[in-house]
């Protein structure tokens, strides 16, 4: 365990803490332990790392992730150095900042806010409550300092050179106020969720935020280039009453007030809000800590649940698409795992979201390159739907991983003659739960855009997608589903295979594109693909 530089800096304030009635030595020790544990936890942005690895090797995961934040933050620099529309630019900057900091706070730092072990481990020791609470507060502050610091590093430097020291200092002040607001609101949000739901629900919500973060980051890369065009826009600012609800506008208001041209009453009100509301939120939060702690206990207690939703649906579906009884058993099992395993969702759902958006990104590229809307509608852009299938290999590959690999003993103790139904049921569950919903959603949107003329093509794409799924499965050579521990590099380690699968998908789309010109080409392709599909589903599960 190393001595953290942050703590050495903190040592200077020792007297201050002791004066306030805290045991500094204990507080420092708690913080040291917490920081050590943080180092061993991989942030969402980097992904999970092997658990058995050497402790010291992992201890710098967090610092490494800061680089990613710094790079993402650098993207905002143009917003603060170019252009003259301060309220507009700063609103965007604070909007991005709030989004990034809130999501990273929720996804990577919830475990700190919600650590129930603290209560038992620290509470039973001779440490007073003040010391524990202060340690927790400083822990969050250290985290926020690093995250905010690295995201805003480049914009801050830009501001200092472009607008001078006063602007810079106000920027720093507003950022600090924003952080306070974020922490207080996040905590209050947790409090609300815990108040009305149980801990599992909160974990689910955190899971969805993580998924959202990963997805927005990925989509963000696609959009950044386009956003730059906005910087030079000249939009006159006109304060509207509903701007009161846009937090970022509050934080941008002081800049417009002090440095910009617009000095309406609204700007002054917003500026005051940006100072008063964070302080008010923190005040409320501090007053609610005891109630928060009491609700935290819910995280570790089990509340009995009503029978789960959709209890009949898997049964019906299973009877439709699975022939043998064993296959149905594993179909239902896999369906449940895909729906509930948070690790699986975190790894697969973001790419699902992407695959939903991909076709449109490509379509809009054609749109931007000069084609008119009418041209696109009568054209072949619907074939971009093949891009939906891009996520299939990783969704299929992830089926073998789980966060609880130790549960796999069950497969070895039940009397299974062969493993075919296990794989077949699981793959069908993956199709029913993930691939089909995406396909259906996309098909509806595409039919609206391109008209019913593309229905035969959509059918071909569906058959091709199913064929592609089973090909991906066979080429991967999976372990038993949900038995392997999830580890870092699992995805990148198979880059060659992924490329091959991508080429296969490309070939399928190419074939479709080529045959589309002849009158019956699509129907011939449909028939061929159907036969190939049946054969593939018969053959792929042999010798497992």
């Amino acid at each position: 365990m190393n001595d953290f530089k942050t703590l050495i800096v903190l040592d200077r304030c020792k007297a201050l803490f002791e004066k306030a009635g805290m045991d500094y030595v204990q507080m420092r020790r708690i913080l040291q332990i917490k920081l050590t544990m943080d180092g061993r936890r991989a942030p969402t942005l980097i992904g999970k790392t092997s658990r058995s690895a050497d402790p010291d090797e992992l201890s710098n995961q967090f610092l490494k992730s800061l680089w990613i934040y710094a790079v993402m933050g650098a993207v905002m620099t143009p917003f603060v150095v170019r252009g003259h529309n301060l309220i507009f630019q700063m609103s965007i900057v604070f909007g991005i900042l709030m989004f990034m900091i809130t999501t990273s706070l929720i996804s990577d730092f919830s475990s700190v806010l919600l650590d129930v072990r603290d209560h038992t481990i620290l509470g039973s020791k001779p440490v007073n409550a003040k010391t524990i609470n202060m340690a927790k507060a400083i822990h969050i502050m250290i985290y926020l300092f690093f995250i905010t610091g690295s995201i805003t590093a480049a914009p801050l430097v830009g501001v200092l050179f472009r607008h001078g020291i006063v602007f810079f200092l106000i920027f720093v002040l507003e950022i600090v106020l924003m952080d306070l607001l974020i922490v207080a609101i996040t905590a209050l949000l947790y409090w609300l969720v815990l108040r009305f739901f149980d801990g599992e629900k909160l974990k689910d919500i955190i899971n969805y935020v993580q998924i959202g973060l990963t997805m927005v980051m990925a989509v963000g890369y696609q959009l950044i280039a386009r956003v730059f065009n906005l910087v030079d826009l000249q939009i006159g600012y006109e304060a509207q009453w509903w701007h009161v609800f846009l937090f970022p506008v509050w934080f941008a208001a002081p800049f417009e007030w002090l440095f910009g041209g617009y000095r309406g009453e609204a700007i002054i009100v917003f500026s005051l809000l940006s100072v008063l509301l964070p302080l008010l939120a923190v005040w409320i939060y501090v007053r609610m800590i005891p109630s928060f702690e009491a609700n935290l206990r819910k995280l570790s207690t089990q509340t009995s649940r009503k029978k789960g939703r959709g209890g009949r649906w898997p049964d019906v579906l299973g009877r439709w698409i699975c022939r043998s009884r064993e296959e149905r058993v594993f179909f239902r099992f896999a369906l449940g795992m895909i729906r509930k395993e948070r690790d699986y969702k975190l790894k697969v759902y973001p790419s699902l979201g992407l695959s939903l958006i991909f076709p449109f990104i490509f379509m809009f590229n054609t749109f931007n390159s000069g084609s008119s809307w009418e041209e696109i509608r009568s054209g072949n852009s619907y074939l971009f739907m093949y891009f939906c299938a891009v996520m299939i290999p990783s969704a299929v590959m992830m089926l073998q991983y789980t966060s609880t690999p130790k549960g796999a003993w069950i497969f070895n103790t039940v009397p299974l003659r062969n493993h075919e139904p296990v794989y077949k049921g699981t793959l069908k569950a993956c199709i029913a739960q993930l691939i089909l919903p995406i396909f259906v959603m996309e098909s509806i949107i595409f039919t609206v855009i391109f008209g019913v003329r593309i229905l035969p093509d959509l059918l071909v794409i569906l058959i091709m997608t199913l064929l592609y799924t089973v090909i991906s499965f066979r080429l991967m050579g999976l372990e038993m589903p949900f038995t392997e521990p999830a580890q870092a590099g699992t995805q990148s380690g198979r880059a060659g295979l992924m490329l091959l699968l991508f080429l296969i998908l490309g070939a399928m789309a190419g074939l479709h594109f080529a045959l589309r010109f002849s009158t019956y080409g699509v129907y011939v392709l449909m028939a061929v693909a159907l036969i190939a599909n049946i054969a593939a589903w018969k053959l792929a599960f042999r010798n497992l």
Partner: protein
Amino acid sequence: MPESNHEPIISIQGLEMNYGGKQVLKGINLDVYEGQIIGYIGPNGAGKSTTVKIMLGLIKGYSGRVRIFGKEISDGEVEYKARIGYVPEIAEMYDSLTAQEYLTFVGELYGLERRLADHKAQRLMEQFGLEEVYFNRISSLSKGMRQKVLLISSLLHNPDILFLDEPLSGLDANSVMVVKEMLASLAAEGKTIFYSSHIMEVVEKISSRIVLLNEGNVVADGSFEQLQEQLHEGTLEEIFTELTGYHEHKDTAARIVSIVKEVQR
């Protein structure tokens, strides 16, 4: 009630506790004296863990008086905890830490010097046969090993009172013998041990006094022999089922077996 002319080390009077409208403790009275091993037993949900957590200051909002080492604990002072060791029922630890890091940390929180805590923890680990895993992460340890680490963490600071909630879970027979013997010796030294468990045979053997809790009330209090005499029952298990009013175990078992047999091949 064992007679004693000196002050009780723990004194609980009229302890009541409500949880979301439900009364978990309905007025517990209990005086515990130095050197006693209290077997604190009762069915699930009887309020055992709640009592222990109240004494540790983990749960607030009770009514009644709780005095430990002759001082009221509700005044917010935490110093008394330095003389208490605690093994919670659920082995909650910071398990991304190594055993060494965790144990020195806990030792220091109890006010030990870091070097001393480290040295003492290492030697205790050795005695429990865990010297090999002292520098391993707790998350990689087996259930029994984790339990031993937890036990060590409760002993490092030489506490005067030990609260042990199911301390033997996951331990092998040899380790169980060691721990039982150790508890007896510690009690002989004048330490007070508060022992909760569902394994009646162990409680019967090691406790000098048994306190049985049912639905938030103390329903029996005395040495095993006294309870045997009062209730004309042979084993603690029988006393337990007698006092908690559970007579259906044969019927329940029969129903379970009949459900098990329902499967058709």
